[in-house]
Amino acid sequence: MSAVTEAPVELVRPDPRSLAGETGMVERPRRRLLPFDPWHLFLLPLAAVMLLPLLWMVVTSLETEAQTFHFPPILWPGTPQFGNYLDVIRDSAFTRWFWNTTVVTVTVVASNLVLCTLAAYAFARIRFLGRAFIYFVILATLMVPLQVVLIPTFLLVKDLGLLDRLGALVVPNLVNVFGIFLLTQFFRTLPIDLEEAARIDGASRLSILLRIVVPLSLPALATLAVIQFLWTWNDFLWPLVTILTNQDAFTLQLGLATFQGSHQTQWHLVAAANLMSMVPMIVLFLLAQRYFVRGIATQGLKG
């Protein structure tokens, strides 16, 4: 045996569209009228429409208060007012809100990743009495809107003595049914052979979960983390209901709302504060993006 006689290692996957045998189609050399894909003619204006509000917010955050009310809108402030950002941080409890939101969001995301993984693995792989029924019941709760359970949950949180505290925002969200659903479906797609091989290799259930299943599920876990992060970070209704008077427990969304007074709204400050509150989400998305690309779970199987 020698490695020399082997077929050369394929480091680059061939583009599946070029494999005539796989698609049954033969790639014809296309005559190009444009130096780019025609789809871009449609996608570019769409992207512009999507970006416009964001751009306007950026512009507004750099304007003076007077400029924000000017009509027609000013598209570029002569001298950008970067001081607006400092004003927000200095004159409001912005850092406090930011910290509170970070604590709540990080806790909720972390607990969801752990608890949903455990629950989902059980539903996907362990046989137990009533598995299908319990899974069905849990999934059914997905259909109940938040507004319906708002009052019962509020009463529960109140009984737990968590009102007006960050715990009120964390405890009801420690585990999210959607996460269980998402991960269960993903775990079911993982090749069972890998887990059987690990069992024979002497791995325990927990070891299989941690060393085989979780590393192969990073795309799903990253998706869940980002979705949960967005939900928690941007949640307004639940904090509004449970954080009543304690300003120290305000989250960003509650805090941002205080900028809108009943008589007057300082739009340039609202825009600046909002932009700052968006930074973590943008960073997270950029970080998690590489996990969204197709998983590698099937690469250990036949060649």
Partner: protein, 376 residues
């Protein structure tokens, strides 16, 4: 190392579907046993029961002197190679090889040493830092075997390990596997649906069909003396020719042709003749002779397969559905027959051949139950 003993081992799936029916089979210490049969015959189930991946519905399986029915896979001291290799895609080759050892709390130094030894033995030294996705099929195959062998298991289980390789690599890996077994001498159970693999690799082969053990023995024995019609049709490529005959007074009539007397009870029998048991003969030949109309000639280089028909009835019951359909194609009173000839005797399609039968190569089966008639 250890022997493996199936004792009336049975697997019933809900339905109920009997996947394995009272299998009793002994695999000796250090033996290379092949479980062979068509897909769905229960061979993989049997293997997975040894591995502990399937519960045993009834009967027992022992490894060494220990009944392992309720022993979890990790405590059975077995290793398995999966059909699709099941390498951990997120780990390097080195980590894949060492995974089982690390789970058993082998000291780090020992793990490294054994992984090094195994990778040297299988020629994987240069690939240790790669991941499975960066390996060719043959390389993955070797990593999968290395991962199983590095733990020095009592029993080595292989589930169709070569079926995902291309034909050339398969032949190469086949001989490599044999050499590996000669060197390590570990008790090995090898599952395949490929009867060529079975005959070339095994010290003994066990033929399964529909969950029932049909025959066990050395490959040549099974080939020469199939225990029943199923084995006769399954082992050997092309399969044994099976023709309907009538035994009366010690003579067997197949169409117009008569075979000399044997100790056969009167009644309907099936006459089995291997393709190499038939040869073109001249007028002087005094044994049984078939007039074959040659239909298809397949030159294989070192030999020629000749498919033709004779005036006789084929034993169709046990054949595959599409084969039956082909046979029934307007010639019910003719049976297809296959010959294996040296290339220089290649006939023309459409010609007629006088074909003599080597009598000592003829096998007889009871038409009612398909069992071999003659005493072995």
């Amino acid at each position: 190392m250890a022997r493996v003993a199936f004792d009336e081992a049975t697997k019933v799936y809900p339905g109920p579907v009997v996947a394995l029916d009272h299998l009793t089979l002994d695999v000796a210490d250090g033996e290379f046993l092949i479980l062979v049969g068509p897909s769905g015959c229960g061979k993989s189930t049997a293997l997975r029961m040894v591995a502990g991946l399937e519960r045993i519905s009834d009967g027992t399986i022992s490894i060494g002197d220990r009944v392992v029915n309720d022993v979890p896979p990790k405590d059975r001291d077995i290793a398995m190679v999966f059909q699709n290799y099941a390498l951990y895609p997120h780990m390097t080759v080195e980590k894949n090889l060492g995974f089982g050892l690390r789970r058993r709390h082998t000291p780090r130094e020992d793990v490294r040493q054994r992984v090094d030894e195994m990778s040297e033995m299988l020629g994987l030294q240069d690939l240790l830092r790669r991941r499975p996705g960066q390996l060719s099929g043959g390389q993955r195959q070797r990593v999968a075997m290395g991962r199983a062998l590095v733990r020095e298991p009592e029993v080595f289980l292989l589930d169709e390990p070569l079926s995902n390789l291309d034909a050339k690599l398969r032949v190469q890996m086949r001989s490599e596997l044999k050499r590996l077994h000669d060197r390590i001498g570990v008790t090995t159970i090898y599952v395949t649906h490929d009867q060529v693999e079975a005959i070339t690799l095994g010290e003994r082969i066990a033929v399964l069909s529909e969950g029932v053990l049909q025959q066990v023995g050395p490959p040549q024995d099974v080939y020469d003396h199939p225990a029943n019609v199923f084995v006769a049709g399954f082992i050997g490529s092309p399969p044994m020719n099976l023709l309907k005959g009538n035994a009366a007074g010690g003579r067997i009539a197949v169409g117009e042709v008569e075979f000399v007397d044997r100790q056969v009870p009167d009644g309907e029998v099936l006459v089995g003749i291997r393709p190499e048991g038939l040869h073109p003969v001249g007028e002087a030949f005094d044994g049984p002779v078939f007039e074959v109309s040659v239909e298809v000639v397949e030159p294989l280089g070192d030999e020629v397969l000749v498919h033709g028909s004779i005036e006789a009835h084929a034993a169709e019951e046990r054949r595959e559905a599409e084969e039956v359909a082909l046979l029934a194609d307007g010639k019910r009173d003719r049976a297809t027959i296959t010959l294996r000839l040296p290339p220089e005797e290649r006939p023309k399609p459409g010609s007629r051949l006088r074909v003599g039968v080597a009598q000592h190569k003829v096998r007889l089966f009871d038409a009612a139950n398909g069992l071999a008639v003659e005493p072995r």
